[in-house]
Symmetry: C2
Amino acid sequence: MAAVDLDDLDRYIVYALQKDARHTSSSDIAEAKGVSASTVRNRISKLESAGIIRGTHVDVDYEKMGFQLYTIIFCTAPIPKRERLAERALEVDGVIFVREIMTGEENVHITAVGRDSDDLSRIGRELSSLGFEIVEEEIIRNEYSNPYSEFGTCLSDDDETPER
Amino acid sequence: MAAVDLDDLDRYIVYALQKDARHTSSSDIAEAKGVSASTVRNRISKLESAGIIRGTHVDVDYEKMGFQLYTIIFCTAPIPKRERLAERALEVDGVIFVREIMTGEENVHITAVGRDSDDLSRIGRELSSLGFEIVEEEIIRNEYSNPYSEFGTCLSDDDETPER
DNA sequence: TATGAAAGGTTGAACCC
DNA sequence: GGGTTCAACCTTTCATA
């Protein structure tokens, strides 16, 4: 749980791998920061065992896969059961992401995909029977994500000009 | 935009790479499904150029990086400006994820991280000055994600027993 | 802790069926 | 469409300062 001390290289590694993990090799990062590739690999292992890097995943366009309906379902779960219910929600087919919210009535937010409204009805039914109370359901129109970049810190490369 | 026809191998590839993109090689998938590694590579290229696989990213534990505050900010943006504002929100330091919601008052959901409440105040201020109206702000307690698995389809390997 | 070198695996491209 | 081959690259491991 304790925050780990990270230096500039660590932060750059996280940044680079968040941007494109598959096509960014340790040598790429090494070259950009002026250290050896082995050093970068050592750092990555450390970041992994420290739990800062939890895993690597592809970002999938569900709509193009045929799941026209991309929704967020706001639910209420009784506080004592919230964590366990949140984990079990993941087992429902179509549920891809679950968030526990600290306070408020809608304390679990579930992201789910479906091919048609039958899918979503089924997902709603299954969540209800797990013990969730479904408060609202909204269609997601679009989403964008960002590789985290340190606040105000210049993360530009050491030995490359930033332009282009 | 049109949905692409995917067969069982494509779906397995998406599933496997969603679970662990960095430590899953084409050969691993090939062996699991009883095809050659280059077939898997060809399929991956196709999935990428079709836009189904949009990219590969590491999953970062922001709390361990020292960002104690992980929040979701519900905002309202005027419909005509919503898309442009959503994109610009990503430029605010600390904003890592933005979702446009189809309907309702809170039509943009922004996920942001910060070290302290000063960070969050600053983020709120910057979002306001972009043109968002901030409706609510909640602390995220925890989140879980799932590799997508085809509804009801058995994605177990071809030539391996599913146990263990 | 950072670096370098050797062995083995992985990738991407060009080519064949 | 799937498969093979091969050169280039990447990673793993281990030894070294």
